[in-house]
């Protein structure tokens, strides 16, 4: 055990004196976590309203009401622009979209039996998610107009009279159908003549449904299924950042094994009265210690500076242990990818970066195509992030935590023994 500890202590000392290595293992992940936490993910305060331009060619009371409805809940901020300027600003990503309210909008908008006005919604193609949300808000504002119409019975009855007159005079509708429509409109007219406008304005919203969006996480230590907002965007960015640091450790120690050979110190280790198991165990212990140090540092900084929750220590310990096992094993396998430091270093990073790409280490998995998400199952990065997130904010139960941990441990053990066997065959 003393020899293993000596070997590990020596490797950690070498690591501590390697400034570039220290940067990529400790500093880079921190910068990554802070940067992506700052620019992405959910926030305590809602993000600013979507800024769009409305080109109101109708300039009617109804079009003004539509704009009021659209901006009512604060999700959308409307600015007025000439059409050309609006198009230009959307193209330059200064506006999320522009919306044209055509002439005659006020004549038909909010009237159930009239032809729907055709609205032109110009969107920035890179902001499709926002445009989808905007379409929903536009329809919601249109539904608000229906209620507004019914809240103004006199105005509505004028529209009705005009519609009845148009239906009576049109030749396109068969006489029998004209009679049915005339009957319907007369019934509505009768309803409007008798209804109290206040009842209508306080009454049903005419919206097909009210959709309330919430972000779903479980309350740590509480009842499963309870919903709660993520406290900090860093709770999402830090697990990915931690995995980058962990990958740095694995790549660094993989190179250090081949480095022992190239500088000749492996010869001294091999002639010393210690076994190959000691040598490999020393490397593994040093790598494990470095990984633990990276994770601990990141979590402590995340807790102190960015409000990351660390209130499930046992789950966190399980996630860390599984991650350590996985990447120590990978380190061993990576070390046999080449016979020179350059070969092992390049190959290690090439593999790890691909794993990060398909495992959600660069872009969260949810934003990746379905086939990439499927392929991502083979990436230890995905399982590491999942285990850490499960302990930090997903609120995994022990049973749920078992799956990523077992996958990580399985990958680690397989990789470790494969690498060790190859090293043994090469007489280290």
């Amino acid at each position: 055990m003393g020899a293993i500890a000596s070997l590990a202590a020596k490797d950690l000392r070498l690591l501590a004196r390697d400034r570039l290595g220290m940067f990529f293992i400790f500093i880079f992940p921190l910068l990554y976590g802070v940067f992506f936490g700052a620019i992405a993910g959910p926030r305590e305060r809602p993000s600013g309203p979507m800024k769009i331009a409305v080109i109101d060619d109708d300039r009617s009371d109804i079009s003004a009401r539509f704009v009021r409805n659209l901006t009512k809940d604060g999700s959308v901020k409307v600015v007025t622009r000439p059409r050309e300027q609006a198009v230009s600003e959307v193209r330059k990503a200064e506006l999320a979209a522009y919306l044209v309210l055509p002439k005659g909008f006020g004549n038909s908008a909010g009237i159930l039996w009239a032809a729907s006005p055709e609205l032109e919604l110009g969107i920035d193609p890179t902001r499709k998610a926002e445009s989808g949300m905007l379409q929903g808000l536009v329809l919601q504002a249109m539904a608000g107009l229906i209620r507004d119409r019914f809240a103004d019975p006199a105005g509505m009855r004028r529209q009705l009279a005009q519609s009845r007159s148009e239906i009576a005079s049109t030749e396109d509708i068969p006489a029998a159908q004209r009679a049915v429509l005339a009957g319907f409109l007369s019934a509505v007219d009768l309803f409007l003549a008798r209804v109290d406008p206040k009842v209508m304005s306080d009454g049903p919203s005419m919206e097909p449904a009210k959709v309330k969006t919430i972000e779903v996480t479980a309350t740590p230590g509480g009842f499963r299924g309870l919903l709660r907002r993520i406290r900090s965007p860093y709770e999402i960015s830090f697990p990915s950042a931690i995995v980058w640091g962990v990958m740095g450790c694995a790549a660094g120690f993989a190179v250090s094994i081949v480095q022992e050979k190239t500088i000749g110190t492996m010869m001294r280790l091999k002639v010393a009265p210690i076994s190959r198991v000691h040598i490999l165990a020393g490397k593994a212990l040093a790598c494990a210690a470095a990984i633990c140090a990276v994770i601990t540092l990141m979590l402590v900084l995340g807790r102190l500076a960015f409000g990351i929750r660390l209130d499930r220590p046992f789950m966190l310990a399980a996630a860390i242990a599984a991650t350590v096992a996985c990447y120590v094993g990978l380190m061993m396998l990576l070390s046999v990818l080449g016979r020179t430091e350059q070969a092992v270093g390049s190959a290690s990073w090439a593999i790890l970066v691909v794993m990060a790409m398909i495992g959600g280490g660069m872009v969260p998995l949810i934003f990746l195509p379905q086939f990439v998400q499927t392929v991502g199952h083979v990436s230890p990065v995905k399982w590491s992030i999942l285990a850490l997130e499960g302990a930090i904010w997903r609120g995994f139960t022990p049973g749920e935590m078992l799956r990523p941990c077992l996958v990580l441990a399985g990958i680690g053990l397989t990789a470790f023994f494969s690498g060790a066997a190859i090293l043994k065959r090469r007489e280290i």
Binding site: S6, K10, L14, G264, T265, R268, K270, V271, P273
Partner: protein, 296 residues
């Protein structure tokens, strides 16, 4: 004692070591002399057990395989490469290697101090190896093999690439170790090192031992005659019979007793411009045995 019997190792079609047998006696300094690629390092690696021979056996101190921890603990290897950690200090390197051999506490501290003194690096003990000169690194490389006080020392080309001052320092230390009674296996391609340091020398080439004996015996056996080169100021007097061969004014005489031969030339009335005796040495031995020079 180290007993090597019919050791063989090949890499593909290259027979690196081809039936090497030798015996190194306790307290002896044994030299393996040969050019680069002769198989010296491969032999050493098989002796210390880091390389598995294709055939043959190695026995150390009657303890059997060199792979056993007991055998390894009694050996120290100074590899040909500078096997040191550049970003560790001299003291950290020595302490690390000492710990691998089970040293700790006061004993470790004493041995590290001793090794630093032997290497002449006490003043630089806290400096990183990366800042050392080639000679300093070579000295540290040597004492890193000594820090655990081994009875058997295997030095693989310990003076390669060092300045004359460091080489002299290393020679002195090895001679001191020799006086302490350590068994030393020393590989080199420098004739003067083998001649100065080694009790017996095995001449190795193409994986085989061509000859093995004390230096004097090797020279006597395989070195041939000494050669007297004399340059005369003028032609010898008429009627004088000279030994050897006279080419113009240069006389070349091969003899086993050069001084006696010169004594015989003196009364012949010759006027010498210069006189030189080339005695056979290990270089001549190697040349005679292999047909080529060590420096080829």
């Amino acid at each position: 004692m180290i007993r090597v019997t019919d050791l063989r190792k090949s890499y593909g079609s290259n027979q690196a070591v081809d039936g090497v047998s030798l015996e190194i006696r306790p307290g002896e300094t044994f030299g393996l002399l040969g050019p680069n690629g002769a198989g010296k390092t491969t032999t050493i690696h098989m002796i210390v057990g880091v390389l598995r021979p294709d055939a043959g056996s190695v026995e150390l101190n009657g303890q059997g395989s060199p792979s056993s921890n007991a055998a390894r603990g009694r050996m120290g290897l100074a590899p040909q490469a500078l096997a040191l950690y550049d970003t560790l200090t001299a003291q950290e390197n020595l302490a690390f290697f000492g710990r691998l051999y089970g040293l700790s506490g006061e004993r470790l501290r004493q041995r590290v101090q001793w090794a630093l003194e032997v290497a002449g690096l006490v003043d630089r003990r806290f400096d990183r190896v990366a800042t050392f000169s080639g000679g300093m690194k070579r000295r540290l490389n040597l004492v890193a093999a000594l820090v655990h006080d081994p009875a058997v020392l295997l030095l693989d080309e310990p003076t390669v690439g060092v300045d004359p001052q460091s080489r002299h320092h290393i020679f002195e230390r090895i001679e001191a170790l020799k006086k302490e009674g350590r068994t030393i296996l020393y590989t080199t391609h420098y004739i003067e090192e083998a001649a100065r340091l080694c009790d017996r020398v095995a001449i190795m080439d193409h994986g085989r031992i061509r000859a093995l004996d004390k230096v004097d015996h090797l020279i006597a056996e395989h070195g041939g005659h000494a050669v007297i080169h004399a340059e005369l100021e003028r032609p010898p007097p008429p009627g004088v019979s000279l030994p050897g061969r006279l080419d113009d004014l240069t006389l070349r005489v091969e003899t086993d007793r050069p001084l006696e031969e010169i004594g015989r030339l003196a009364p012949l009335g010759l006027a010498f411009k210069s006189l030189r005796i080339d005695r056979p040495d290990l270089e001549t031995v190697f040349l005679n045995l292999t047909g080529r020079s060590l420096r080829d």
